[in-house]
Structures are given as structure tokens and as C-alpha cells.
Symmetry: C2
Subunit: 354 residues, 2 copies
């Protein structure tokens, strides 16, 4: 399909996966437990549906060179740099302007660069269905039926079913729901009317820009001006004026006729080490191990030290992550607190390890 584009959002982040992720090496540029860096996994998976020259990657300037080297199949001009991070609304807007210029009828799907999708067959069928729906509806959002009361994801409340194909259902969107506490998450799971918000969705580019003009007019005006002159300094200046707002909050919540597909594509956003542990294969003692290992009486641990032998005795539910210059050891239930370690390092002025 010559009018279908993939927009891959690769802005950075993943600080709770420190010390594997670093300021100069965000999550999407890391393989973690996979063969390739997450962004290369994403591009490879999407190539079943999108031509390489119709994939656009929006990223920070500091990552552009690495991404170009990691992804030789992507034309370098398809790697779009942002001067600073201004959240997803601006990033997607940059890509939408480019697509509209190339093809007024263009449709694009948005994908975070650093998410995991394990059921590729279902995924590919879901995308085909989504593209069709996008020809008659303004936005098609891809939701994931929840498997457990996850508090790390946003949810979408769905309404009546509007279409079904190959056992994949599409519903009217009712409401976006922020990341819940565990009580609410349990409620959503039981109710059966909520899906995880995967951050993947499909728009017609021209429609997206209309919605941008209506709901984030400053962003529309600033970016349109800067892009018309193809001037980097003007773009820098524009980025410093536009608001920092997500596409969900800034646009999606405000438009009508949003359709939600609920499809079990084996999706995960690996937010922290505990989430990675959940995703990995476990041995008989419930340990998830990457690298050579010798253990005595050790249970429920994530042991990541691909480059050295890890010996453990008497451990329960710990996370051990070894990198060249940092070693992290913590209890699995404190995985969220990695952010606090980074704050402590910032306070000390230790930029070397951030």
C-alpha cells in the first residue's frame, strides 16, 4: 500500500532500566534480552506491513547517528530529528507534516520504538484491519486485552462493537484512563470493558493536522512555519515555544469518532526490571538468568550479567544487573525506585553514570 506509513517514536527514555539504559543509550537502542536493539526489532517487525522507505523515525538529534548506523535499510532522510523533547504530540506532528507533503492521502500508524510485540501474526492482521478502518474513521487505536491488573499502563474504556474480522474486534472508544492504582486496575480487569493503551494508532495525516490545528494551534502554527523554510534554527526556536503535551492528552481525548481495536498481539512496554523479569523465561527456581551462572538456594531473581559468571547463595526476589561501569542490586519490588538512584546521582553531580 503506497499510501501507508509507519511513524516510529524514538525520543529516548527508559530511565528505570538503568544502568542498561543511559542518557546516551536509551531503551530503544538497547537489545536488553533480544537479538537486536529494540528499535531494530520494531523496524524488522513492521517491514511485514510497511516499506522501509515509508518508515519515518522521529528522534532526538543526539541519537540520530546511532539509529542511522543501526538501521541501514531506512533512508537517512526518514530519520527526523527533534531539537528537544516536547512529548508525542509534537513528534507525531513533525512526521504528519512530512507525510502530507509527500502524499495528501497518506495514512500513518504510530509505534513506540521500544515496545515488545510477540504475536507477529496477530499483529500483522491487526494492522491490516486498522488501515482499512482508518479509511472510514478518524482515528484507530490499538488496545490490548489486559492479562493482569497492571498499574504501569494507561487504559482505554471501550463502548459498543462496530466491526469484527478474523476474531479481531473494533469498538467505539469511550474514554482514556490514566495509569490506575492496583484497586482500580483489578476493577478494570474484571469489568472486561477496558484495554491497555499501547500507544499504537492510525490516522490519516491530513486529518491529524486538522485536529492539531484545532486542539494545539500553537504547535501547528509554529511547526508549519519552521518546516516551510526547512530551517533548523527556526525549528529549534519553534520547539522552545510549543507546549510539552502527549498526543493522548492533547488530541486523542478531544476528537470524536475514535475506534479501538482490541487485539492480543503479545504487547509489552518493558517499563522496569521487574517487567523484564516477568517477560523472561524462568527456570525451576523462578530465576530469569542472562549470562553464565552458578546458584545455590536462589529463587525469584533476575540475574543479568552477560559478560561474567554470577554466583549467588541464599537470595530471594532480587534483581542483579551488571554493566561495564555500574552494578545494580535491589529487591524486585523496588524496581520503580531506580529513578530515585538517578536523582541521587544527579544531586551529586555524577553525570558519568547517568
Amino acid at each position: 500500500m503506497t499510501d501507508v506509513y509507519a511513524v516510529i517514536i524514538a525520543g529516548g527514555g527508559g530511565t528505570r532500566l538503568w544502568p542498561a539504559t543511559r542518557e546516551h543509550l536509551p531503551k530503544q537502542l538497547q537489545p536488553l534480552i533480544f537479538e537486536q536493539p529494540l528499535i531494530a526489532e520494531t523496524v524488522g517487525r513492521l517491514n511485514a506491513t510497511y516499506d522501509f522507505d515509508r518508515m519515518l523515525i522521529v528522534t532526538a538529534q543526539k541519537y540520530a547517528k546511532s539509529i542511522e548506523q543501526m538501521l541501514p535499510s531506512i533512508p537517512p532522510e526518514n530519520i527526523i530529528c527533534e531539537p528537544v523533547g516536547r512529548n508525542t504530540a509534537a513528534a507525531i506532528a513533525l512526521a504528519a507534516f512530512r507525510i502530507c507533503e509527500e502524499n495528501e492521502q497518506g495514512i500513518f500508524s504510530v509505534f513506540p520504538a521500544d515496545h515488545v510485540v510477540q504475536n507477529t501474526d496477530v499483529f500483522n492482521r491487526t494492522l491490516a484491519f486498522a488501515h482499512e478502518l482508518a479509511r472510514h474513521h478518524r482515528v484507530v487505536d490499538i488496545g490490548i486485552p489486559p492479562s493482569h491488573p497492571e498499574t504501569g499502563y494507561g487504559y482505554i474504556e471501550i463502548g459498543e462493537e462496530i466491526e469484527r474480522r478474523n476474531n479481531i474486534c473494533a469498538y467505539r472508544m469511550r474514554a482514556f484512563v490514566e495509569k490506575p492504582d492496583v484497586e482500580s486496575a483489578r476493577g478494570y480487569l474484571e469489568a472486561g470493558r477496558y484495554v491497555w493503551n499501547s500507544g499504537m494508532f492510525v490516522w490519516r495525516a491530513s486529518e491529524f493536522l486538522l485536529a492539531l490545528a484545532e486542539h494545539l494551534p500553537e504547535t501547528h502554527t509554529a511547526l508549519q512555519g519552521a518546516l516551510r523554510h526547512k530551517d533548523w534554527d527556526q525549528l529549534v526556536e519553534a520547539y522552545h515555544r510549543i507546549p510539552d503535551v502527549s498526543v493522548d492528552y492533547g488530541i486523542m481525548e478531544k476528537v470524536s469518532d475514535v475506534v479501538v481495536i482490541s487485539a492480543d498481539v503479545g504487547w509489552r512496554d518493558i517499563g522496569d526490571w521487574a517487567a523484564l523479569y516477568d517477560l523472561m523465561e524462568h527456570d525451576e527456581q523462578n530465576n530469569a538468568v542472562d549470562g553464565p551462572n552458578v546458584s545455590l538456594d536462589t529463587e525469584g531473581c533476575l540475574l543479568m550479567a552477560p559478560r561474567k559468571l554470577v554466583a549467588t547463595i541464599g537470595l530471594r526476589n532480587l534483581v542483579v544487573v551488571d554493566t561495564e561501569d555500574v552494578l545494580l542490586v535491589m529487591t524486585r519490588d523496588r524496581a520503580q525506585d531506580v529513578k530515585k538512584i538517578l536523582e541521587l546521582l544527579k544531586e551529586r553531580g555524577d553525570s558519568e553514570h547517568l
Copy 2:
């Protein structure tokens, strides 16, 4: 004193301090938490009492080159190699034959190469006292008044006081006591008649060889024959015939007129990581840390990773030891079980990490 020698026993070992100690790098060649390797600390400390050319180091051939390089002040011919390890009786006998040949009136003190002595003033006065006593008694053993019910050391039961100088007392020896269980150790501490067996003692060389001939005649004959011909192959052959027996068990326990000095010289044998933790300085959370560190809610831990930043969250009483190719993480109360890890590695045929 031209007739006083130091014999430093540097045969190897320290397997419970793996992975800092390795087969090719035993405890005495490691600095652990000190400025220099333990053997260099020992030699430096002893130089207040003994000339460098009257220090003899008995070691395994495989460590001789490293020791020679570490200790340029020691004449290379004073580094005596054993073909294989045959425990302390044989090692000390080798040195005693050498000393007797050089000086028939020679007195020697024996010191393990890998022990810690922190009160050097008391230590030096104790040695001076011991040398004097050795002119009138067959053996002078240096005991340490116990500070806690240690189960990792052997004990000596002492009898009546026979002499006192500068608040350092000498007693008749009653009995050697094997490493006790914790109940017995508590009893010894309360009784006040027991001291730790430090493995340091003083003999006249000729007397030692007489006792050797009487109590370990095979060892005496085999070594005397091999040394007379100064032939390495003959020494190898002799070593394969002689029994593997400690000087305590093979000789000391069997001779009369043993004197024990009880002196608080700040002595420790660092047997395992828990013992090293006890010896180290603790911060306000009772952590003993060597290397850069950032910790949240972490208590009672030993963190040794001099070459990298260690970040910890929510840990209690753990030991973390990072080396170039091995990372050890265990609970402190399992410090003895490091030996089991080494057994597992041996079973697997993993000689690289031993």
C-alpha cells in the same frame, strides 16, 4: 639479633574469599582491603624485628615468581619452594633445615603470610618477649585473648602464669583445642583460660628438628636426604612420601614445655567474607563499602567493587563482591558456602573461574 629468623608460611588457600582469591591468586597475594598484598603487609610488619635477609618464605612453586616480584627486599634464595602442599609440619621443617645449616643456634618464629595484625606496638613487644622465652623453653606460642565466641579459630587452653613483662603474660600450655561449635566457644570465652591459636610460634631450629625426628621421623628422614643433595627431583619424590600433617597436630601437641604468650596484638585470620565485613569500618547503616556507591535503604551489607559504581536498593545483610570475570552475591550468613560454589564449578569442569 643475628640468630633470629622469621619463617613466613605462604602455601596458598583462602578459597572462601573467592572470587577475590583464585587458584593462581591465593589470599596472601591479594590486598583485600589493605594497601598492599597481605604477604607484603606481613613482611613490612616483621621488618621491625627481623632483617629482610633473615626472613624465609615457604610457598608453592607456582606462587614463587609473584612473591619474588612483590617482595624485592627479600633475597630470592630466601623464597623456598615446595613441590606440593603437605601442610605446615613439612613447610616449617624445610625452613628449619635451612636455618640450622646457616646457624646452629638459630631461633625462628613462624608467621602465616595472610593474617592481619593491627596493634603493631604490642606485636613487636610480644615478639621480643617470645624470643627471650625461647632461649629457656622449647616452644613459645603466641595466643590471642578472644574478643568473641569465634568458631573459625582453634583455641589453646592455658595453665599457670610463668612470666610477665610490660603487661604481657606467658603461661604454661595445657592443651590445643580444635575449632569449637558456638556453644563451646561461648564456654571458652567465659572461662577466661582459653586463647585463640594464631599459628604464630617460636622455636630454636635445632630443637624443632629433634622434635621432628622424634614425632614425624619419616618427614625428617625424607627431607634431610633430599636437602643434603640439593636435588629438586629428590625433593619432589620426598614430598610425595611424607604425611600431610599440621605442625600443631604432628609436633606441638606432642612436646612438653610449651609456653603460651597471651597478647592482644589485634590479630585476625580473615577466613571468609563475613570475617572481612567484621573487620572493616561500617557506615551509619552498618554497611562496609569498598568502591564508589549509591544506596537506598541498604543495611548490614559488604559491598566490594572497587572498579565500578554499586547501586543498591532495599538490601539487608548481603555480600556483593565484583571482580573482572565473576560477580558473587550472597547473604552474609552463608559466607561459608562459597566453598560449595567452588565444588559446583569443579563438578562442571569450569577451571576458568576457580
